[in-house]
Each structure stands twice: as structure tokens, then as C-alpha cells.
């Protein structure tokens, strides 16, 4: 994995890095590949601001999407793992000064 791992602890506050497309539906990873974001990943991407934890993401999406909490939690986790795998997330302290 590159760019930080998708840690499961509830205090993790990932930061997004990468260029979002104009329509907001895809992002370009550090290698230049275009990654298409599904609905959950688009929401997770928006919340990767360095201050929002995974439980907070789950709660926000739960308010918005009509799905069971377990499903939302799974989808958020999957999105974080995928974004991490493509090097699109980092820890707040890993950001360049």
C-alpha cells in the first residue's frame, strides 16, 4: 500500500490528496491514473479533510443514505481502503509542511 494505510482505529482522520475531476466523480492518483469514485467514495473523499474520523463519516452518510448502518460502515471502510491503496490519502501529520 502506498500513501498511508487504511487504519481501522476510530481516531484516524485521513487527508485527501490528488486532483479531483471537474465533475467530482473521479480523481487522478499520484501515478496519473484516473480513479472513478462511486457514490460512497465521493462522499468519503469530501470528508477526508484531516479532521473527520471514520465514525463521523459513517454517521454523516447514515443520515443521507437510506441503508443499514452495517452496510454504510462497510462501504466507508472499503472506500477508505481503496483510496489508500491508490495513494490518495495521508495522515494529517504526513502532509508536507
Amino acid at each position: 500500500m502506498s500513501g498511508g494505510s487504511a487504519r481501522a482505529d476510530s481516531s484516524w482522520t485521513p487527508v485527501r490528496r490528488g486532483a479531483l475531476s471537474d465533475d467530482g466523480e473521479s480523481v487522478r492518483d499520484p501515478q496519473g491514473s484516473v480513479i472513478v469514485l462511486n457514490t460512497t467514495a465521493q462522499a468519503v473523499w469530501e470528508l477526508c479533510d484531516g479532521s473527520t474520523t471514520m465514525p463521523e463519516m459513517v454517521h454523516a452518510l447514515l443520515t443521507l443514505f437510506d441503508a443499514p448502518e452495517a452496510t454504510i460502515r462497510h462501504d466507508v471502510s472499503e472506500a477508505l481502503i481503496e483510496l489508500s491503496r491508490h495513494g490518495l490519502l495521508s495522515q494529517p501529520q504526513e502532509e508536507p509542511a
Binding site: 465521493q42 469530501e46 473527520t52 463519516m57 454523516a60 437510506d66
Partner: protein, 214 residues
């Protein structure tokens, strides 16, 4: 059996034109209704109400419709994050941008009828951040409520029921001074400015004297 969709806009000409165009494109039963019909719509068998956010008291109408089991999709122009948040909290299933054109409206209506959340991409970030912020504020209030003693919680419930300190004293068989002291302490613990704010908070969090009084 086509789904029933009702469009409620301020401008009836716009509403009728949109309804006719949508009906033509998506094969739904789409009608336009003035805001004055919202009360009747709540008791009808409509599957989806597309409500213009600019309609007076649209949030209160949305809540009434949602409470009645209807899906409400807001037609928005350029809403701020607070309006979006309030709409979601009022029970809206999503938003359709009035500037998005008929094709986008058609897709959003169909998505709403399928039970999907409908938030235009450009509005998603602000709305999500607002939801996170609101949750954090609620967490802070809940933490403060946990610091109340059983007696203070009881007094808070009575404030929420609209009692003043003398009535609270009578109800709890304590002196008015003691009731006043409990009130002052709970105001400080909850970081609210006055009894009205405390009473509103009690109502919002469902704190009642019921079950608290021995």
C-alpha cells in the same frame, strides 16, 4: 401503474411546464400543485413531492409530508449549507438543482423514487461537513447533559414542561431558593444563558419529568 409525483412551486406556470415535460419524458403521473394544496397532498397517495425550497415555510411542509410517509425532493437554486442541512433534518430525501435542466431533474426524480439519496455532486461536500459539525455539537450537548445530577435532570425536565422555579419547588417539595439553586447549576453545566434555552434543550432531547419523579 405509474408512480405519482406532485410538483409544488411558487410559480404555477413553471410548475405546470415542468410537470408536463416530466410526464412526457418519464411516463410518470406528474401533476403541478400550488403551495396552498400542501396540506391535502400530505393525505394523498403521492409517491414523491418535488417541493421548491423557495415556497414559504417549505421546511415545515417537508417535515409534515415526511412525517406522513411521503418522499420529498427539494428543488433548489443555490442553497447555502445551512439550508441543505435543515432540509435533510426536515426529512428530505434529496435535492434537484433547478438549473440542472430537465434531463437531470428526470434522473433525480427516478433516483428518488428508487429510494436513493439524491444530492447534486457540487452540494455534497458542504452538506456532509454540515452533518459532521451538527453531530459534534450534539455530542457536546449530550456530554453536558451527562454531568447533571438526577435532581438537576428532574428540574430540567420540569423547566421543559414550562414550570417556573416556584412551581418546580412545589412539585418537588423543596424551597424556591433550592429550586433556584438547581436551576442556576444546571444552566451553568449546560452552558446555556437562561431558562428558556434550557427548556428548549429539554424539549429537543426529550427530557421530561416523566419517569424522573419518584
Amino acid at each position: 401503474m405509474p408512480a405519482h409525483v406532485t410538483l409544488v412551486t411558487i410559480d404555477q406556470v413553471v410548475g405546470s411546464a415542468l410537470a408536463a415535460s416530466l410526464q412526457d419524458r418519464v411516463g410518470l403521473d406528474v401533476v403541478s400543485a400550488p403551495p396552498t394544496r400542501l396540506g391535502a397532498i400530505a393525505t394523498s397517495n403521492v409517491d414523491l413531492v418535488v417541493l421548491d425550497l423557495q415556497v414559504p415555510e417549505s421546511l415545515a411542509h417537508c417535515k409534515a409530508l415526511a412525517d406522513a410517509g411521503l418522499r420529498v425532493l427539494f428543488l433548489v437554486d443555490s442553497p447555502d449549507d445551512e439550508e441543505l442541512l435543515a432540509a435533510v433534518e426536515a426529512g428530505a430525501v434529496g435535492f434537484a438543482a433547478s438549473s440542472g435542466g430537465l434531463r437531470e431533474l428526470e434522473q433525480t426524480v427516478n433516483a428518488a423514487l428508487r429510494g436513493e439519496a439524491c444530492v447534486p455532486r457540487r452540494l455534497l461536500g458542504g452538506l456532509l461537513r454540515g452533518l459532521v459539525q451538527r453531530r459534534r455539537e450534539l455530542d457536546v450537548v449530550e456530554q453536558r447533559l451527562e454531568t447533571l445530577s438526577a435532581r438537576e435532570r428532574e428540574v430540567l425536565g420540569l423547566l421543559g414542561d414550562g414550570l417556573d422555579h416556584k412551581q418546580i419547588a412545589q412539585r418537588l417539595f423543596i424551597s424556591p431558593e433550592t429550586a433556584r439553586t438547581h436551576i442556576q447549576r444546571l444552566l451553568k453545566k449546560l452552558a446555556v444563558r437562561n431558562r428558556l434555552e434550557a427548556a428548549n434543550l429539554a424539549a429537543e432531547y426529550g427530557i421530561s419529568r416523566q419517569g424522573d419523579v419518584a
